[in-house]
Symmetry: C2
């Protein structure tokens, strides 16, 4: 089969690789129906994370089960499935607490690269969720979005404890930030402020439920949020970038007693204990436990309530994966869908 | 009147000072019924916080109202009152959200020193809570405890979102940590692990509701907590010290998806964003909005449900305030009560 391999910053190749095989009795093999490039892949593509050797890439996927190990009982060949980027047993204490990305037996599904024609999914019973039937073509992008960006945006809102009536600000207008707007709306936020300077993204944010757009950043951005919230800040702020600047945007934009959910993988983010203390702001982040949300998110997609697949504004054949990286790196695309 | 003044590290003097007066129409004057020394006073007494000039000290108090400004309507002369160390209007947006220590008009009551015979309380209507009648002598220490340490321990548990059935670990066996044990018990925690190496404090922690004691610290302490919690950590950890060591004790002792409430004023505490991210631990701290909890805490004291006054293991006449500081500095006393 063929798949994407990152050789060095800026150098993604689509090449012949060994077919994945069932290794453990709890594995499943899937034939990829759709995959995509994640904002977090760009950390490596841009050389911010070191690339030490040719590395298979990608961690988002939907597909058709081809084969299952002898212990797999929850999914079977022929089913259309969605899973998280972390495989989880869904039975350990952390899974039962709803933090499947901290499963005591977790494995990173992306380790073997999901931007590929076939994927091995460890711990298939605890990781994959099958749709009731083969989904319509039109639902595939949104189902794929659930495997990471929609699940991650959802977790941002859950981690920030968004409640009905809240004013929510979203920092970051990438695919995750845009999906976080959907999540805030679905969880009942009354006012949703998307921080964005890019017209097409502002438009999509509004379509997803944003009631206000703030184009200012830094101190001006904070001042603008405070001005809109009676001088105190937003009830909840969803930090969907992962830089020191975005965290410095999020915390002071939150009111005392409010909450920041942070889902951008932090790169060089340091927090001052005393500043956090006097802010009275609550903070929770982490890799989203997508598995916990999948059944609900799949329902919302199939019933037409949410359409996160709109974040894909570029669709390419999987073999053009290098173009997909380049388009996202140059911000010509919000997110690129890849069809094998 | 007479009151305590900190001249330099280790140099507390009890001396004649000007009587406080009504300055604003929203002020009240109280005659101190009891006051005390706070663990946070020791940061200054020990020279960790700089002492730049002779400074009146103390911020915990209960007393009898002597005089009120023309706009004060909620309390009247002769009433026994308790208030927080921060004066708050209790009407602004932050107060309405339950964060009175972030009141838009807050004033630090301790600015003029509460280890004194008389105290001016700004924003009296929003700050003071009167007891239904003159309290019995035996309740005074517990009512005094509510003005800071019990309120702060309570907030640690609220900030950590303690719920019935939880396993809670408390880092710090000072008066706040011990009161946090009471709070965890009152909020329904099933298992309460007090981290303490001091036998008298362990004993009081057990009396307050601790079900387990962990004497180990650092990596050993973390390992012990994990061992007691199926390998994952406590549901909630209450950090009641404020040092980098205590935060480093608290965070890794918390399970993924758990929560740390931190109420020790942070001194040199830095948090790594990526570490916090992968831990999935929620975090909220701050100066406790004691005012929010006072009516409830006063009820619990007067009904005999809680007896936080037991943290006072030394009672001295107010004029011996210097001895009180010394005893606490040398850890001969958990907390010293001062009677004018």
């Amino acid at each position: 089969m063929r798949g994407a391999v990152l050789y060095a910053p800026g150098d993604v190749r689509f090449e012949e690789r060994a077919d994945p095989k069932i290794i453990n009795a709890t594995d499943a093999l899937i034939r990829t129906a759709a995959t995509c490039v994640c904002g977090s892949d760009l950390w490596d593509y841009r050389g911010i994370n070191p690339v030490e050797q040719p590395t298979p890439f990608g961690h988002e996927y939907v597909g058709i089960v081809e084969e299952v190990g002898s212990e797999v009982t929850a999914v079977k060949p022929g089913q259309f499935v969605i899973g998280s980027f972390f495989a989880s047993d869904n039975t350990c204490a952390n899974c039962r607490n709803g933090y499947q990305t901290n499963c005591l037996h977790r494995e990173f599904v992306g380790a073997e690269g999901c931007q590929a024609e076939k994927i091995r999914i460890p711990l298939a019973d605890g990781t994959l969720v099958a749709t009731p039937e083969q989904p319509a073509e039109e639902h595939i992008p949104s189902l794929l979005a659930c495997s990471d960006v929609m699940g991650t945006g959802w977790y941002a809102a859950v981690a920030a404890e968004v409640r009905p009536g809240d004013t929510v600000a979203v920092v970051g207008d990438g695919a995750v930030g845009l999906c976080a707007v959907i999540a805030a709306r679905e969880l009942g936020a009354e006012r949703i402020i998307a921080m964005s300077r890019h017209e097409p993204r502002q438009k999509l944010a509004r379509e997803f439920g944003a009631t206000d757009i703030v184009a200012e950043r830094g101190e001006e951005g904070i001042a603008r949020i405070k001005e809109m919230t009676g001088g105190i800040g937003a009830d909840r702020v969803l930090e969907c970038v992962g830089t020191q600047e975005s965290m410095r945007q999020a915390l002071p934009s939150t009111r005392p007693g409010g909450h920041v959910g942070f889902v951008g993988v932090p790169h060089g983010v340091a927090l001052d204990g005393q500043e956090l203390f006097y802010s009275h702001v609550g903070l929770r982040g982490g890799p989203a436990p997508v598995r916990a949300f999948l059944p609900d998110l799949i329902d919302r997609v199939l019933s037409g309530r949410i359409n996160p697949g709109k974040v894909f504004d570029l669709t390419l054949p999987l073999e053009q994966v290098a173009d997909a990286y380049q388009a996202m790196d140059e911000r010509r695309a919000i997110k690129a869908l890849l069809m094998p």
